[in-house]
């Protein structure tokens, strides 16, 4: 049972990583528009490379 002293802090460390990832994604505006990116991902990139 004492393995919990090791595993629980590890688990919390993983959670901290996930939370930081979420904070980063929210702050960089990835949840601002939930509709357009879903449409955008269907597009081919080919033509957009042209300046």
């Amino acid at each position: 049972m004492s393995v919990v002293f090791l595993v629980l802090p590890l688990a919390l460390l993983v959670v901290t990583g996930a939370v930081l990832a979420f904070v980063w994604s929210a702050r960089s505006g990835q949840y601002d528009d939930l509709e357009t990116p879903a449409m955008r991902m269907l597009h081919d990139d080919g033509a957009s490379k042209e300046p």
């Binding site: 629980l8 979420f22 929210a26 949840y31 528009d33 597009h43 033509a47």
Partner: protein
């Protein structure tokens, strides 16, 4: 807006849908007259042809591979957009970024699907100097970044326009930025609170299990310390908002729900921390973490509902044209409407909207002021007459000397009135908010009593019981009850064609009061239609052939009345301003137009028309008369007017049956309003005509003193009244200003939706009341248990989520509006840009 209504789609000519040829660009049927036998591809209009050519020339042909494509003929306005390069424009709408590039946001008409995103994000990049183009479909906003030294914005705007996405400047950039930042911060707080609450629950579960089955004290301590370690960040980061709320509540001396929450959080944390260190007594942390999370979610839901209002307010400005054409020393050029000054000379073509108030200095024409006054019949104007910004020049080019521009114009004053009454409107005290104040006071009092009485009798755990009471009664379920039920109802209503901006609208609509209807476009269809036709059938093709090329509203009325009719060719067609049309059809001389114009060439009158002219007085009094003569014989009389909606009478009866008083209030001529009112069973006193926007506002304010007033209307002339009413409802086809101020917007073009709305609101209020009753019941049980010291941490941990879950389930399964699959809600038609941008957020919540 204005150019939109008059620019009539070329495809409409070909009402004959049997033609198999479809347009290579928009996939709509190509009119028979435009089919080119030898061409490889067919186009329904030059707009589509141009768009097709551009896409192919630049290797963007894969656009045609999209399954879902814009299905509307490309209607480019053909404007030069010179005003986009004007210094005033740059000052108002363009930001210069640190990199030296310019950045602006443009509101685009007609974007709605994946292929639109693809086009709008690629086409501007074809210009050298454009570094970024990004579209937000939901709000119809495109962000463009470009190097102003290389490419003028007007070139980009023209390119978008050619593809059918007419750009408009977007005025709310600063506010939108601020809101975006708020949103992100809120989301971050919810994410952190959620993560902490879930992990806290795992630790708590271990502790509860240990309490039941026995657990080594070392582990108990460990889990309690872990809980404490988790609690601190939840407290200082997401929990901070409640303390600032509570502080505001203390400063303003008003009871706010944040106050007991903050006290409970602080007391719980301190007591829990002490208990953690000493290793005895309850620690509360699991309950507190969950509380923070649930409250933040409830608040987020509520905010999103209110967001809708602010979003659409930006559309308000879309009515007044953003550009004006001025004549300076014989040279005509475009400038932004903001740069107009009194004394300048405006050049206004047929079908354009006036950009400022002024006096006509050259030309005569007819003006449609429906947007401003609600008068459905265009009136004729000549030199010396005053015209107002926002009204439409129907027939012939005019030159206007500007008298009042921008903020001092009549429409600007009216819009300011709208904004003010929207702000002034006393916020309807929601049941939950009213309860919250009482609730707060009761909870604080009970906690103080529990502590005071128990402490004075030296009872054990006096402080623990008081804290337990504060925590268990925390208005989790109560805070969720209203926003959740409203969010679910608003989402379902959106699927049924009712876009509701705020929950208070539902509250008002739930019980009967006075409902005031505008006539034009609300009770009636709001467009000119052929209502009476007296004359032989053989005249009809002649009329249609002459009217085919005209963009006059009357001509459109004829075209809609007789779709698919074979039309003979016209020769020497001539348009007489203020009179009508004449020309040669099949070797016969045909004249159509006002009685005076046609009478000029008439030598005799057909017998049936003679009878009609003498006996039937509806034409000429409530309808606009149109006479038709062929070779000098008056052969037909048409009565053009605004048709009453098919379901108007039925819907009005349903409303009256539910106890509503119905009033018809219109800016249209008195006798027109009276005859429509009589046909629809309005009381004679409740059918009021000739009302100016200012009088409408006064009527609403006056009626409001006696009870709740619902205003149903469209157009700017109703906007002030809609904003002033307890609840304003905008109907399909309404001007965008109306959408900006209305609390509810009906996307289905029928009045029956109004009855559904009233019924749905009543059911929603029932669900809310049930939610509130349930959460109060839970709180009473929890509070009594805490006061008598019966509340163990385990009981609290079960009771709190149980009450929230009951409320969630009750809101979700409560019967409010019928549930629909969300795919059918996309609005189409000319207003699709505005409609989809408004429906978006609601759907997203649903």
């Amino acid at each position: 807006m204005s150019t939109d209504t008059l620019r009539f789609p070329a495809a409409a000519i070909a009402a004959d849908a049997s033609t198999a040829t479809v347009c290579a660009h928009c996939a709509l049927p190509v009119p028979a007259g435009l089919v080119q036998e030898d061409a490889e591809r067919q186009f329904c209009c030059t707009g589509c042809h141009t768009a097709f050519a551009i896409l192919h020339e630049h290797g963007l042909g894969s656009y045609y591979g999209f399954a879902e494509r814009r299905e509307a003929p490309v209607q480019s306005s053909g404007r030069r957009y010179e005003e986009f390069d004007h210094p005033t424009f740059a000052q108002l709408y363009v930001q210069v970024m640190p990199s030296g590039l310019s950045r602006t946001e443009l509101y685009l008409e007609g974007v709605h699907c994946a292929s639109c995103v693809w086009l709008v994000e690629r086409v501007p990049l074809l210009h050298t100097g454009v570094s970024r183009a990004e579209l937000d479909v939901r709000r119809s906003l495109a962000v463009v970044e470009w190097d102003a030294a290389v490419t003028p914005l007007s070139a980009i705007a023209r390119q978008l326009d050619v593809l059918g996405y007419a750009p408009h400047p977007f005025r709310g950039v600063a506010r939108a930025d601020m809101r975006r930042r708020e949103d992100r911060a809120m989301l971050v707080r919810i994410g952190i609170a959620g993560a902490i609450a879930i992990n806290m629950m795992l630790a708590a579960l271990a502790l509860y299990a240990g309490e039941l089955n026995g657990m080594d004290a070392t582990f108990t301590h460990f889990f309690r310390w872990v809980s404490f370690a988790l609690m601190v960040p939840a407290f200082v980061w997401p929990g901070r908002v409640f303390f600032s709320g509570a502080w505001a509540s203390v400063r303003t001396r008003s009871l706010h729900m944040d106050l007991p929450i903050a006290i409970a959080l602080a007391a719980g944390l301190v007591r829990g921390a002490i208990n953690t260190v000493t290793g005895t007594g309850p620690i509360y942390f699991d309950g507190l973490a969950l509380l923070i999370f649930a409250l933040l979610v409830g608040r987020f839901l509520q905010q999103r509902g209110q967001r809708l209002a602010a979003d659409s307010a930006e559309l308000l400005h879309a009515i007044a044209p953003s550009t004006a054409r001025i004549v300076e020393q014989g040279v005509v050029r475009d400038i932004p409407a903001e740069a107009l000054l009194p004394g300048m000379t405006l050049d206004v073509r047929a079908g354009e909207t006036f950009a400022a108030d002024g006096v006509i200095v050259r030309g005569h024409s007819t003006v449609n002021a429906a947007l401003l006054t609600g008068e459905s019949r265009p009136s004729s104007v000549e030199e010396g007459a005053t015209v107002y910004a926002g009204t439409l020049n129907v027939e012939a080019p005019l030159q206007v000397r500007v008298e009042e521009a921008g903020e001092t114009s009549r429409i600007a004053k009216l819009l300011r009135e709208v904004e003010e009454s929207a702000r002034r409107r006393a916020p309807i005290v929601q049941t939950a908010n009213r309860l919250a104040g009482i609730f707060t006071a009761v909870v604080l009092l009970l906690a103080a009593l529990t502590f005071g009485i128990k402490a004075s009798f030296n009872a054990p755990h006096a402080l623990d019981d008081a804290i337990a009471l504060l925590i268990v009664t925390c208005p989790c379920a109560l805070a969720l009850a209203t926003p959740l039920a409203i969010t679910v109802a608003v989402g379902r209503a959106a699927g049924n064609g009712m876009l509701i901006k705020g929950g208070d609208a539902l509250e008002v609509l739930a019980s009967p009061g006075t409902v005031v209807f505008d006539k034009t476009g609300t009770i009636t269809e709001g467009r000119t239609a052929l209502v009476r036709w007296v004359g032989a059938e053989w005249v009809q093709p002649l009329v249609l052939s002459l009217e085919a090329g005209s963009s006059h509203p009357l001509a459109e009325g004829f075209r809609r009345a007789w779709p698919g009719m074979m039309v003979p060719d016209v020769h020497e067609a001539r348009h007489v301003v203020g009179g009508g049309l004449e020309g040669w059809v099949d070797g016969r001389h045909v004249r159509i137009g006002s009685p005076r114009f046609v009478a000029g060439g008439v030598v005799s009158t057909a017998p049936e028309v003679m009878v009609a002219l003498h006996t039937y007085d509806e034409i000429g009094r409530t309808l606009t008369p149109v006479h038709v003569s062929v070779d000098g014989v008056l052969v037909a009389v048409a009565g053009m007017g605004d048709k009453v909606r098919d379901d108007a009478l039925q819907s009005l009866r349903a409303l009256r049956h539910r106890g509503w008083r119905t009033v018809l209030l219109s800016g249209d001529a008195e006798d027109v309003v009276r005859s429509v009112g009589a046909a629809l069973d309005f009381d004679a006193a409740d059918a009021i005509g000739g009302a100016t926007p200012e009088q409408k506002l006064a009527f609403i304010e006056q009626t409001k003193q006696r009870g709740r007033v619902v205003m149903v209307g469209d157009g700017v002339n109703d906007a002030a009244a809609i904003a002033a009413a307890s609840v304003g409802i905008g109907v399909q086809g309404g001007a965008e200003a109306c959408l900006a101020t209305a609390d509810v917007y009906l996307t289905r073009n029928e009045l029956g939706t109004l009855v559904e709305l009233v019924d749905g609101s009543r059911r929603t209020m029932r669900v809310i009341r049930r939610n509130i009753a349930l959460s109060i019941a839970y709180n009473v049980v929890g509070a009594s248990m805490a006061m008598f010291g019966l509340l163990t941490p385990l009981a609290a941990a079960i009771l709190m989520p149980a009450s929230s879950i009951t409320v969630v389930l009750g809101s979700w399964y409560g019967h409010t509006f019928p549930r629909v699959r969300r795919t059918a809600t996309r609005a189409s038609g000319p207003a699709s840009g505005a409609a989809s941008s408004i429906s978006g957020p609601v759907e997203a919540i649903a």
